[in-house]
Point group: C2
Chain length 102, copies 2
DNA sequence: TATAAGGTTTGATAAAAATCGAACGTTTAG
DNA sequence: CTAAACGTTCGATTTTTATCAAACCTTATA
């Protein structure tokens, strides 16, 4: 059974990944846009107005998915992003509210 | 008068700086330690158990101060860090609570 | 099924951050 | 006042992250 130090440290590691993922202007914009869309609609990856190559765009969405901020529906020639709102609220309570105003 | 887009974007810029500052294991540990110290004591920069050179340590504390997470009292041969708890709670409500558990 | 329209992966390059040693500054102790 | 102790700044290096073009993959459509 892990002691408190271990528990805290692993929890902090997860938080660190989230913070790293958010610490980039494009990725932060994506997440904030998704948060501010109350309808929780699936969004095309191209619908965020990002002015980078598709390779770079793909890189950022993969990163956001890998840390659990979004789920990512891959339909081959069609890529959709969806905020993991409920899961995030449970795992990192307050995170969404913190970013909401941005 | 700035429109919403401008307002949001500058608010997001501030948030981005905070997120970047927190997106490093040492800096996150420093802030979480300060948050979990309910007494809001001033802490020696050496008291966080960071295993880096003093130049690097100084670099991280400067960064945390520059984004407003801590205030930094420089007494020449003595450096103290203090969480800007009230200001942070006002400017980024929920941030401290979010990090508290880590 | 062939082709077009995305998205992803790979490999290379560019940009940003972290790190350290050395030189310097400031305070305190002797 | 001098030396010791500690923090900061500077310059150079290393490590990490971001970026893109090209090749490839997946789906939809003619």
């Amino acid at each position: 059974m892990p002691n408190d130090e271990t528990k805290n440290s692993s929890k902090r590691d997860g938080m660190l990944l989230i913070l790293k993922a958010l610490a980039h202007p494009m990725r932060l914009k994506i997440i904030v846009d998704l948060i501010n869309d109350e309808d929780d609609a699936e969004r095309h990856c191209t619908s965020f107005g990002l002015t980078v190559s598709k390779a770079t765009r793909s890189h950022h969405f993969k990163l956001l998915k890998d840390v659990g901020l979004i789920s990512h529906i891959d339909r081959g020639n069609h890529s959709l992003a969806l905020l993991r709102r409920v899961a995030l609220e449970e795992e990192y309570p307050g995170l969404i509210h913190l970013l909401k105003g941005c």
